[in-house]
């Protein structure tokens, strides 16, 4: 028996293992037979002799069992050794041969790692944001409910009202449960400080429906909806940490919410979050069916379908109920309203409502990194081809010496896998870094951003791609590595084979160029959109503007006089700070204020009672200057507020709609309900795009801090976003001075997060920026990879054709002719790739349509630029090898 594992030992031990039992028994049998024979020789009868032999042998079964056990352990160990040894041998061989070709190895690994990294990162993003279920119980049955009012403007969506909430809650049979919440910025006062926070008012059933838990105390419950119940508040986990230091005895304490003291009854679990909604404090909204319902659509509705009920069934039922809404609540919904607004109910899967259009963006990105991955693979496949070319002689020798095809295959598998797995590891590492970068880059533009990170599954995804790529390369090499003894012939060049290979490589490179065209065209279109967006005139000057919200305790600023005095004092003190050019405040800042409250106005000059929905903003004097918005006519002053002149400013867009071609100054404007007085238009402000660059100029009414007596009241203004325009000072340098100035008026005034208005503009375009950057990265990667690919093919061709070049030159070809020949070959490949790519681009960029801005998916400028640059790149890629070809000495090649 040989104890050193040999190459074929694995197989033999398989056979041998079957005979372990027989082997042992045969050995025993021999022993007993010998002893019996000896006994017979001493004169015993055969049967007595055998009996004696067996007696002396002892317990045959036990001895056999023990011996067999030992032998089996020997076999096991030997097999393990053989396997380990074979693995080690293959790996050592592969590592050695990879180390011998460091450039090949590094380029292949890095190329693949980039592709794998990008794909893994984007897949992780897609999986977390789009594919993973939400972290709520029965999340697949959760829906959001809101109302569409296309009669007001296309795409206009309102929340639910208390009336529609109770209407659905009481009648809908397709729903298990229905809850609501409303979100406000609130002034909060702890025992030690005044601050502001996001206050979420919930219906008593909402938190339990979403499976929220308390880490301390209890949550808001159904009993808290009772108007007579004591006012209680639940703290958000982070708010509890930052403002109460995580005090475990916080329950039972008191928190002032907008000036109303509420008892703290619990702390929300840190792992829970309302759908895309942070909450610093939560308390009961206290709606009840018999309350005075008004046409105010500020509630987010979340429902749960009954088990087994489809979304469509719920849609159908709620649509039916919606049509009965005006009968059920005639005081809230007049039929004119229902028809005028084309009031409808929208029911969406909760996840869809969270992820929305983002899913498209992410699928597009996954598609593009997928393309990069394919290009990377093609490139590496190409490298393997080059390598197998250079190893043809080695392989042929091995074949000739009897190495089996299978063994050559195992070798190429282990080499390819080694490269692929190294690339997988680096790729996953890159993905991790990339994700951190992405998350940092998209602070507000990405849903579920706080859940994003590599998971076991996505790491597995990365390595799975790597493994598949590795196997494909191995197969690829194997298929091309058919036994070919040509290299062994004296001076054999195997021209036919290499021509086939060259064709394969040319196809690969052409595909690469085509894919690069698609990606670059997409990136180019996004870049054009990005620039177009930045060129759009928002109607205001975002530079050198500092902005932050200020919140006052509602119960302390309960009169117009108190509130107005505060805001005026604030304006005066800030204006006195050196470096401040102008200061003003607004109730809903452009690009942030989602809540342009809707009001109906009657243009009395036209005598129509047509219902119009006009966003409005409350502003303080000085705001137009601070924002850099020009006003023709005049802007209201503090005197207008003091004297209640009812002076308002409207935007140019509204003026053009209500009084086209006329001068609106001096005209009146009011809310149609009641017999209240008219506001007088004293100025027309330049158009701004308060909804972002994609929206048309906003039709706006700018109201004063104090409304006219007799018109519907919004009450004393207790929160405003302050804008400060600076001159000669960086805006953020003023922050401490401004804080001191505000605190000196009232230490109870809370200041929200401070930002520059330029940041706010940038944030409003985050989705375009995000997509542009990612597609740009993908595009540049594709470009670089195709340069490498192209260079590889030409360089390879040149090296294969050196002798031919030599002959041509010997026959009188000029160096520049030779160089041109290769340049043309490269350009031809490039041109074919570009053409294919352009055709494909026509289809693919259409997918981008929803992301594009101010540019068509078939924008000729972009396409021509991309095509041209790829051709230039093709030329450049072939430049060095072509130049090298031109220096070939005829004598050098003729000699060999």
């Amino acid at each position: 028996m040989k104890w050193k594992p040999d190459r074929y030992g694995g197989l033999r031990s398989l056979l041998w293992r079957r005979s372990v039992d027989e082997d042992v028994l045969e050995e025993f049998e021999h022993h007993i037979a010998e002893r019996t024979a000896a006994n017979v020789a001493r004169g015993m009868t055969p049967s007595a002799a055998r009996e004696e032999a067996l007696r002396r042998f002892g317990d045959v079964m036990r001895a056999a069992r023990e011996t067999i056990e030992i032998d089996e352990s020997i076999v096991r160990e030997q097999k393990r050794m053989e396997l380990f040894d074979a693995l080690k041998r293959e790996l050592t061989h592969s590592v050695r041969s990879l180390v011998r070709a460091p450039v090949f190895t590094v380029v292949a690994v890095v190329t693949l790692a980039l592709g794998i990294g990008a794909s893994t990162a984007v897949y992780t993003l897609l999986k977390t944001v789009v594919l993973d279920p939400l972290r709520y119980p029965a999340s697949e049955r959760l829906i959001t409910i809101d109302h569409e009012t296309p009669g007001i403007s296309a795409g206009s969506v309102w929340g639910m009202s208390s009336a529609s909430y109770f209407h659905f809650k009481e009648r809908a049979r397709t729903l298990d449960d229905l809850g609501i919440y409303a979100v406000n910025q609130a002034h909060l006062r702890t025992t030690s400080e005044a601050t502001r926070g996001i206050a979420v008012q919930v219906s008593g059933n909402l938190l339990s429906m979403l499976g929220a838990r308390a880490v301390l105390g209890r949550l808001i419950e159904v009993a808290d909806d009772d108007p007579g119940a004591p006012r209680v508040v639940v703290l958000g986990h982070e708010f509890w940490q930052t403002h109460f230091g995580g005090d475990p005895n916080v329950v039972g304490g008191t928190l002032g919410v907008n000036g109303t003291p509420m008892e703290i009854v619990g702390v929300l679990d840190g792992g829970f979050k309302l759908p895309e909604q942070d909450a610093d404090v939560l308390y009961a909204r206290r709606l009840h069916p018999t309350m005075n319902h008004v046409n105010w659509h500020y509630l987010f509705g979340i429902g749960r379908l009954k088990a087994g009920v489809s979304l469509d069934a719920a849609r159908a039922e709620l649509a039916q109920l919606t049509s009965e809404l005006d009968e059920a609540y005639p005081s809230v919904y007049g039929s004119g309203f229902m028809e005028g607004t084309k009031f409808a109910t929208r029911v969406r899967d909760l996840r869809e409502s969270i992820v929305g259009e983002l899913a498209n963006t992410l699928w597009i990105l996954l598609g593009s990194v997928g393309v990069v991955l394919v290009i990377a693979c093609v490139n590496v496949a190409n490298l393997f081809l080059v390598r197998s070319e250079s190893r043809r002689t080695e392989d042929a020798i091995r074949s000739a010496l009897g190495a089996r095809r299978g063994h050559v295959f195992v070798q190429s598998v282990s080499e390819s896998l080694l490269i692929a797995l190294a690339a997988g590891a680096i790729g996953v590492w890159l993905a991790d870094g990339g994700l951190r970068l992405l998350v940092a880059m998209a602070p507000s533009g990405l849903a579920r951003v706080d859940e994003i990170g590599l998971s076991t599954e996505t790491v597995f995804f990365g390595f799975a791609i790597a493994a598949i790529a590795g196997l494909v390369f191995a197969l690829f090499r194997f298929l091309h590595g058919h036994t070919d003894y040509a290299p062994l012939r004296e001076g054999g060049r195997g021209l036919t084979a290499s021509r086939a290979r060259l064709r394969a490589r040319s196809v690969l490179v052409t595909a690469q160029v085509a894919l690069a065209v698609i990606l670059l065209a997409s990136a180019g279109l996004m870049l054009r959109s990005f620039r177009a967006m930045h060129r759009v005139d928002l109607g205001l000057d975002p530079e050198n503007v500092l902005t932050f919200p200020v919140y006052l305790p509602v119960s302390e600023y309960d009169t117009y006089e108190k509130a107005t005095r505060f805001w005026r004092e604030l304006s005066d003190r800030i204006a006195a700070i050196p470096g401040v050019a102008s200061v003003g405040g607004t109730s809903s800042p452009p690009l942030i204020g989602s809540g342009c409250a809707i009001m109906t106005v009657t243009p009395p000059t036209r005598g129509t009672d047509r219902l119009d929905c006009v966003p409005n903003m409350i502003i303080t004097p000085g705001w137009f200057d601070a924002m850099g918005i020009p006003v023709s006519g005049r802007a209201p002053t503090w005197a207008d507020i003091d004297n209640q002149t009812g002076a308002v400013v409207i935007s140019r867009a509204l003026a053009d709609r209500l009084w086209p071609g006329e001068d609106p100054i001096g005209r009146g404007l009011k809310v149609p309900t009641g017999d209240g007085p008219y506001y007088t238009i004293i100025g027309v402000a330049g158009d701004i795009r308060a909804g972002g660059v994609r929206e048309p100029p906003t039709q706006l009414v700018y109201y004063p801090l104090r409304e006219l007596e007799g018109s519907p009241l919004w009450g004393p203004v207790t929160s405003l976003s302050i804008m400060i325009r600076t001159t000669g000072v960086e805006p953020d340098q003023l922050v401490p001075v401004v804080r001191t100035a505000i605190a000196s008026i009232d230490r109870g005034a809370a200041i929200g997060s401070v930002s520059s208005f330029e940041d706010i503009v940038a944030r409003s375009m985050i989705r375009t920026t995000f997509t542009t950057v990612l597609l740009g990265i993908a595009g540049v990667m594709a470009l670089v990879l195709s340069i490498v690919g192209m260079y590889g093919v030409i360089a390879y061709t040149v090296s294969r054709r050196r002798s031919e070049i030599g002959i041509r030159m010997a026959l009188g070809a000029r160096a520049d002719e030779i160089a041109r020949m290769f340049l043309l070959q490269s350009l031809r490949l490039g041109a074919i790739g570009v053409t294919i790519g352009l055709v494909a681009t026509a289809f693919t960029t259409n997918l981008l349509r929803s992301l594009l801005f101010g540019v068509e998916p078939t924008d000729p400028l972009t396409l021509v630029a991309v095509a041209f640059s790829l051709l230039v790149v093709a030329g450049l890629a072939s430049f060095i090898p072509a130049a090298r070809a031109a220096t070939v000495q005829p004598t050098e090649t003729l000699r060999t």
Binding site: E27, H31, A33, G58, E77
Partner: protein, 109 residues
Amino acid sequence: MRIELLQGTLDMLILKALTWGSMHGYGIAEWLERMSGTALVVEEGSLYPALHRLAKRGWVKAEWGLSENKRRAKYYTLTAEGRRQLANETKSWERFTQVVGKVLAAQQA
């Protein structure tokens, strides 16, 4: 007098037997009997687990061959490593018996 074998001593005796050359299991049993007379009681079946254990450790080598009676038999041969092992064991055995003998021979003073 009949002596029960101590744990591990059988291994030593087998190795010693093989210093005479390759043997099969029966041969080793006979050799033991011949050398010790009837003093040693060895259950012959227990030779085999011991032999295979020695083979596993690499101290002996096993090969099928033909016995003098033209029967197929497994022959065991001492390896170089087995020879070293035997030398070591013999040395420590001698020290052991010497010490134990000295202790047992001690006279009351």
